[in-house]
């Protein structure tokens, strides 16, 4: 009996032991993962941050976080009509008469998050790093506007290219250090970016660039903490390159000079920002902490918002967003009179929402963005298979462009109230840029042009193929466009759907006839869109080349008078959207946000769609300004 009892116990123990161990391990692991304290505001970024190295970043979500962690010399005022420049680290700046020399006066109370002073030398250091080919920054061309920048870049590139050939493996380590010392000297010698004293930065440009101040507000121009970077920088003895170890962009190492400091970054999990108590402008900080959970699934984002897990979704993508937007339209219809009045007074979209009776249907917002969706025509004389390319002829491109009924795409396919595009630069996004009008929908004229080009009623025209990638509803748009062309022009159209990586490769190698495309501007100047059509531009996927257009851009570049310059640029754009059509603009992107306008402030509805998360405010929480940030309405126009 007793023996049986022991055997029984032993058998049970043998069966249970592994699971008790497993259970204990699971319990320990779960319980050790303590949740963080709640934050003042929670927002879900437009995807996970790829890098916080300001020299290297190129994604929207990265820029947003960087804008909170660092501060540039000047800051864009995202709540002003004309996207004004406000003082940042520089309390004031001057421009020389020839518009080529800028002098920035830094404020003495600008501090890094470790309490040390932000100096002009920190900016020089960051800009030198950006100009090194070693750093492989996407926006290096912006720094090459500085006099000597291009020469310095080329000099360093040439030294690196020959490094392995010139030096034997044994002396490479010494040679690499020697080269780095030379490089630092060369920068001082060549590049006209000087710091005569710790609080003055003088920059001389290669030529006048009217949007230079806009670039200085751009994230790539932020300063870097020299001591921090030195701790993470090494010189590769094999290649001579200066390399930065990735750890410096993460807490607790990271040192910034922005309104917030990054205190937590758990990969694909969350980021947390907390007030930087060393920042000079404490009054402009409206919350003590911001949390950014990483939620990849678009549905889960909305569920999280609905259950109080997030206060602001910065990119709402599920299909049913169109229904939410329709519900908001319905709500506006119910209060049409009040809405029209507020609109008349010139309030911005969110300001209007705040002045209307609260309703959960208000929480969805579509803001016009600084981007355009278009179709690209391959403009080379021959197609990839060697046949002559009918789209080499501008008349054919125009015929195809004006035979697409874009309103159908905006209203029935996209369904989020985006504006139909006849031009490339989104209207009203750039102060001082005169309105440009593109050719409108005109199927009769399109048929006439096609006949003139030698294809009456589409006869003898090759089968047209549309290249697109399969995500984000591009297929539906392609179907709608194909239908337009079939009915209006009588041509045959096939759809060519590819996976995104293959799609990108085909675009780059011009292996397509017509392809979908999209572009978001980087800085507040029309050239950010127009450069796409410049001969040999790295992003000119259409391989469009027109000396007249190029000369217009050159003329604008050499024009000192800002009004005249904008006129020349408008002429260049007009050329593209009235006659030449290397691309067919379809709609201007809208970005869909979700937040309660009566609770959250700081999300900018400005058409440049730059979000400064450092301005976020929970209204009525007793912290910060607690009054909504809004774009001031224009002064009332007098009616006679």
């Amino acid at each position: 009996m007793r023996d049986g009892g022991i055997a029984y116990a032993r058998a049970m123990w043998k069966l249970l032991a592994p699971f008790i161990v497993l259970l204990a391990a699971v319990g320990l692991s779960v319980l050790s993962d303590k949740p963080q304290p709640p934050a003042d505001i929670v927002f879900i970024n437009d995807g996970d941050v790829n890098t916080l190295d300001v020299t290297r970043m190129s994604w929207l979500q990265d820029f947003r976080v960087a804008g909170a962690v660092w501060e540039g010399l000047v800051i864009n005022n995202v709540f002003s009509r004309d996207f004004d420049k406000m003082p940042g680290v520089a309390e004031r700046w001057e421009r020389s008469a020839d518009q080529r020399t800028y002098t920035f006066h830094l404020r003495p109370n600008a501090k890094w998050s470790d309490g040390s002073q932000v100096t002009a030398e920190d900016f020089r250091f960051a800009w030198r790093r950006a100009l090194l080919p070693d750093s492989v920054g996407d926006y290096v061309s912006m720094f090459q506007m500085i006099e000597g920048g291009q020469a310095f870049y080329d000099w360093r590139q040439a030294r690196l290219d020959e490094f392995a050939k010139v030096h034997a493996p044994a002396d490479r380590a010494a040679a690499a250090r020697e080269l780095w010392a030379q490089t630092q000297k060369k920068f001082d010698e060549l590049v006209r970016c000087e710091a005569p004293d710790p609080l003055t930065l003088v920059v001389r440009l290669e030529r006048s660039v009217p949007y230079f101040i806009d670039c200085v507000a751009f994230e790539a121009f932020f300063p870097l903490h020299r001591g921090l970077l030195a701790r993470y920088t090494s010189i590769s003895p094999e290649t001579g390159r200066v390399e930065t170890d990735s750890g410096w962009t993460r807490p607790p190492a990271l040192i910034g000079n922005g309104k917030f400091k990054l205190t937590t970054w758990r990969f694909k999990r969350d980021m947390r920002l907390e007030r930087n108590e060393h920042h000079w402008d404490q009054l402009a900080i409206n919350v003590d902490s911001i949390k950014m959970p990483s939620i990849g699934d678009p549905n889960a984002q909305i569920l999280s918002y609905r259950t109080g897990g997030a206060d602001w979704l910065s990119s709402v993508v599920p299909n049913y967003r169109a229904d939410l937007i329709a519900a908001k339209k319905q709500y506006i219809n119910e209060h049409q009179e009040l809405y029209d009045q507020l609109k008349e007074q010139g309030f911005d979209q969110v300001a209007i929402d705040r002045r209307m009776p609260p309703d959960p249907r208000q929480n969805i917002h579509v803001f016009p963005a600084f981007g355009t969706y278009f179709y690209s025509f391959n403009c080379r004389p021959n197609l990839p298979d060697g046949r002559p390319n009918p789209f080499h002829d501008a008349k054919v491109r125009k015929a195809f462009s004006i035979s697409v009924e874009k309103s159908i795409i905006a209203e029935n396919v996209r369904r989020i109230g985006e504006a139909v595009a006849d031009v490339l630069v989104p209207p009203n996004s750039i102060a001082g840029y005169p309105p440009v009008y593109g050719a409108a929908y005109d199927p009769a004229e399109a048929r006439r042009l096609l006949a003139e080009a030698g294809y009456p009623n589409g006869e003898g025209f090759i089968t047209v193929s549309i290249l697109y990638n399969k995500d984000s509803g591009h297929d539906l748009i392609a179907q709608a466009i194909a239908k337009s062309w079939q009915t209006n022009l009588g041509v045959k159209v096939t759809l060519d759907q590819k996976e995104i990586k293959v799609f990108r490769q085909d675009l780059k190698s011009s292996n397509y006839m017509i392809a979908r495309g999209g572009w978001f501007g980087d800085y507040g100047d029309p050239t950010t869109f127009l450069d796409l059509s410049k001969t040999n531009d790295g992003n000119n996927d259409r391989k469009y080349s027109n000396p007249v257009f190029d000369s217009l851009l050159d003329r604008a570049a050499n024009e000192l008078d800002p009004i005249k310059r904008m006129g020349v640029l408008a002429e260049a754009e007009r050329m593209l959207v009235q006659d030449e059509f290397p691309m067919l603009p379809i709609f201007h992107y809208g970005l869909v946000h979700m937040f309660n306008p009566h609770k959250v402030s700081g999300v900018s509805p400005h058409p440049r769609q730059k979000q400064h998360i450092q301005l976020l405010d929970m209204l009525g929480d007793g912290k910060g300004r607690d009054a909504p940030l809004e774009i001031p309405p224009p002064p009332p126009t007098r009616k006679w």
Binding site: R177, T233, D245
Partner: protein, 334 residues
């Protein structure tokens, strides 16, 4: 037993080498550049070329050997013994720079998430996946064994048919449907568990969702085993001796009926820990399954290789663990 463990451990590196070679070969063939964004601006050509050179992406053999050297620790040992590492550190300190940190098993940088090394990504996400998978298996065992025993005691009873139906649903309904349903009911309607947040409370729903198919399978295995065993002579003898029914079931029957479940547990545990991509996505669990899929979409070579190698190692080790356990529970097995 020792020879078994030794033999398996010797096989492990060979298996990993084969998996590494095949994976790299396949991943290399994915079209497109891992250094390019899916949308918008592309980096200048010279920038792209410089990056390719930096990561050895311009030459397959060079990539193959350098990765192998870094990931196996050979490079670390070579540099340590030859004094290269010490000399380089000294020089760096001389020049006012930091000595470059060195990892023994260096799985390289992530090409998509440049601020993270693959080692760090795996260190952050592997414990989460392991916890999620192990938790799911514990739940599956509790549910499955209970349902299986109940079903076996009274075959074709209401309870048996009930568990059969639940098991069928558990096996045939995909995870994302069950997950979305649970999320809606417990997360959104009742608000018992948080939506999209990993932690002690946030772990419950994903674990249950992930456990259901396993629970269903275990229930069927247990039921079949129990019915089989309960009809055998030694059970009749035990009952004839007057042994209490509960002891007959738990001591005599379950021990033998459990063996097929045990042999299923090895692959099940590995599958639960590695194949939780869907559950991770629905519940926003910061685990490793997502990297498995996203890394391929981004052509993030280093991350693909790192994740595949870690998963492969886990699979081999779990199978070995089950073999060892099997022998421990039933010493007759050689």
């Amino acid at each position: 037993m020792l020879t078994l463990i030794l033999r398996r451990l010797v096989q492990l590196p060979l298996i990993l080498l084969a998996i590494y070679s095949v994976t790299l070969w396949l991943a290399w063939a994915i079209p497109g550049s891992p250094l390019e964004n899916p949308e918008g601006r592309r980096p200048p050509v010279e920038v792209q070329r410089a990056m390719e050179r930096q990561y050895n992406l311009d030459s397959f053999p060079r990539f193959y050997w350098s990765y192998l050297e870094n990931a196996t620790g050979v490079r670390w040992l070579r540099e340590e013994w030859s004094g290269v590492a010490a000399a380089r550190d000294a020089q760096a300190i001389d020049a006012g720079l930091a000595p470059k940190p060195r990892l023994f098993f260096d799985l390289g940088p992530s090409l998509q998430y440049e601020d993270w090394r693959v080692n760090e990504i795996i260190a952050a996400s592997l414990p989460v996946s392991v916890t999620l998978g192990a938790g799911a298996i514990v739940i599956a065992l509790a549910l499955g064994l209970g349902a299986g025993v109940v079903g076996a005691i009274r075959p074709n009873s209401l309870a048996d048919i009930g568990t059969l139906v639940v098991a069928l649903v558990g096996i045939s309904l995909p995870n994302f449907v069950i997950g979305a349903g649970l999320l809606l009911v417990f997360g959104v309607w009742w608000g018992v568990f948080p939506v999209a947040s990993w932690g002690p409370r946030g772990a419950v729903l994903p674990m249950i969702t992930l456990s259901l198919p396993f629970a269903a399978y275990i229930a069927r295995l247990t039921r079949m085993g129990m019915i089989d065993v309960l009809g055998s002579d030694y059970i009749r003898t035990a009952r004839a001796k007057g042994v209490a029914e509960s002891r007959v079931l738990l001591k005599h029957a379950l021990k033998n009926a459990f063996l097929p479940v045990l042999s299923y547990l090895g692959p099940a545990l590995a599958l639960a820990m590695t194949g939780s991509f869907v559950v991770e996505r629905v519940f926003t669990v910061p685990g490793m399954g997502q990297h498995f899929v996203n890394a391929v979409l981004n052509k993030d070579l280093f991350l693909i290789l790192g994740v595949v190698l870690v998963f492969a190692t886990m699979l081999v080790v779990f199978n070995l663990a089950v073999d060892v356990l099997y022998r421990w529970v039933d010493p007759r097995i050689e």
